[in-house]
């Protein structure tokens, strides 16, 4: 079993790929403290796409009522790790 720190790096790398693919945001701009809406300029429909792609990649479903509370990249990492 990998430790939590490794998991964070793995998840962040996966999220960077997804965000680049869906929203065209370069990987080096996607850090844990960034807000999807305020910092990365990602709109609500793209967040839906990101959530579905994250579900495919990490096997964790993010229900709509949870998605609206996931403001930052860290929030998504934490949710996937739960």
């Amino acid at each position: 079993m990998a430790n939590t720190e490794t998991d964070t790096d793995t998840i962040l790398a996966g999220l960077r790929e997804i965000v680049d693919e869906i929203a065209g945001v370069p990987a080096n701009e996607v850090d844990l403290e960034k807000s999807f809406v305020d910092d990365l300029d990602i709109d609500s429909l793209s967040m839906v796409e990101i959530a579905v792609a994250a579900q495919d990649k990490f096997g964790v479903e993010i229900p709509d009522d949870q998605l609206k509370d996931l403001k930052t990249v860290q929030d998504v990492v934490n949710y996937i790790q739960k």
Binding site: E21, I22, A23, G24, L45, S46, V48, E49, V52
Partner: protein
């Protein structure tokens, strides 16, 4: 000068992406060379169809637009934005109050490639995998909305839909938007992007398409005795229209005056044109009245002529009826669809650009592929080679007709 209208409207920018080229310059030079943009479709699915060719875009949007934009824009929106960008830059990127800038951009069918692709996704992978952008991509006002968003056109965005007359109607409505005082500048045009087996099957099942599979480049042959249907194409055209006052104030280059608009409906049959040409001639009569042009002012007509047995000849009959014998004897008529194929909702815009350039450059593109002219043709067709526009030419007209009986004509006058 329009008899009833004091606001003169001028054309200050042109943009296009067509089977002949990714911009206006390459499209125009191919038209003058008499080159066909039609080619075989290299997809396995053509084996299931009676038609194996189409007018596919010369430059893929992926060569121009970034990946993340492509995935949230239907192909109609992509092509509309590419041609709008060229037109806007060609016009010199006018400084205009967003509340005085409009967008009128049409598609005949809308985002049908998105509909079909997302339906496949839905059936194969379920509702959650359907793109959340499906609705804004498939809606027929999608191209107008995308252009409006890109250029902050806040005076209004419109998408008149009238099948293959849609983008001629867009230009006509845009002229009226400026005349009515709702805008100083309007980005106007149209697009189609519908090359898909279902759409080819749909047009083929109504026996509207050419099946000349052994000679795709000879398939679009308006007014030839052996014409057997139109060739389905994709592409977009955009013009920047502007009040003459606004254009003069910023020292813009003016290609032509958008002198008038004419409309009618056959109300005869859902797809077949009235064989007597009454509806089509009525559109020309209404154009003459609106523009204040005399029949003898019309030196050139870029015809709708799509290469169907049912359509091409009737249009020439209608022209003669509307213009009268002496003017009809002198008008030089061409069908650039012989080279581009039929861009459906993009046709009127691309052909209006050809009409404007014929006046501005003084050269009329030819109709290619006429080996034996249909003896029923009633006007002078520019065949095989381009022809010089008469030095004293005043005006030229683009005609576009659509399933549903729609007839639209737009007149352009030399500056």
């Amino acid at each position: 000068m329009g008899a009833m209208n004091t606001t003169e409207v001028v054309v200050t920018g042109l943009g296009a992406t067509t089977p002949l080229g990714g911009d206006v310059a390459s499209t125009w030079s191919a038209l003058l060379e008499g080159r066909s943009g039609i080619d075989t479709i290299h997809e396995d699915w053509v084996a299931d169809l009676p038609v194996h060719f189409a007018g596919q875009i010369a430059q893929e949007p992926s060569e121009v637009l970034p990946r993340q934009r492509l995935r949230r824009l239907d192909r109609t929106q992509q092509l509309a934005l590419i041609s709008a960008k060229e037109a806007w830059e060609d016009a010199g990127g006018p400084e205009v109050d967003p509340l005085r800038l409009g967008a009128v951009v049409s598609s005949g069918i809308g985002g049908i490639l998105t509909i079909l692709e997302q339906y496949d996704t839905f059936r194969e992978r379920g509702w959650k995998r359907v793109s959340p952008f499906t609705v804004p991509m498939l809606m027929p006002n999608g191209p107008a909305a995308a252009v409006s968003l890109e250029y902050s056109a806040r005076a209004g965005a419109h998408s008149p839909v009238s099948a293959c007359a849609s983008s001629a109607e867009a230009l006509a409505n845009a002229v009226e938007m400026i005349r009515n005082g709702r805008a100083d500048v309007v980005i106007a045009g149209g697009v189609e992007a519908a090359i898909h087996p279902l759409n080819l099957a749909s047009f083929a099942s109504m026996r509207a398409l050419s099946t000349r599979n052994d000679d795709p480049q000879g398939a679009s042959r308006p007014w030839d005795t052996q014409r057997d249907g139109f060739v389905m194409s994709e592409g977009a055209g955009t013009v920047v229209l502007e009040s003459a006052e606004h254009a003069a104030a910023r020292g813009a280059r003016v290609y032509a005056v958008a002198a008038g608009t004419g409309y009618s409906n056959d109300a005869h049959d859902i797809v077949l044109p009235d064989p007597d040409g009454n509806g089509q001639s009525q559109a020309i009569l209404s154009l003459l009245e609106d523009s204040g042009l005399a029949p003898s002012d019309i030196a050139h007509v870029n015809a709708h002529a799509t290469s169907t047995p049912a359509g091409d000849v009737g249009e020439t009959v209608a022209l003669r009826k509307a213009l009268g014998d002496s003017a009809a004897d002198r008008v030089a008529v061409t069908s650039t669809k012989s080279m581009t194929g039929h861009l459906l909702g993009g046709a009127g815009a691309v052909e209006s650009i050809a009409t404007v350039l014929a006046l501005y450059e003084g050269r009329i593109p030819p109709t290619i592929n006429i080996e034996e002219l249909d003896p029923e043709v009633r006007v002078d067709i520019v065949r095989d080679k381009p022809r010089d526009m008469p030095a004293d030419a005043v005006a030229a007209v683009n005609e576009s007709f659509g399933f549903g009986g729609h007839n639209v004509a737009v007149a352009f006058r030399r500056v």
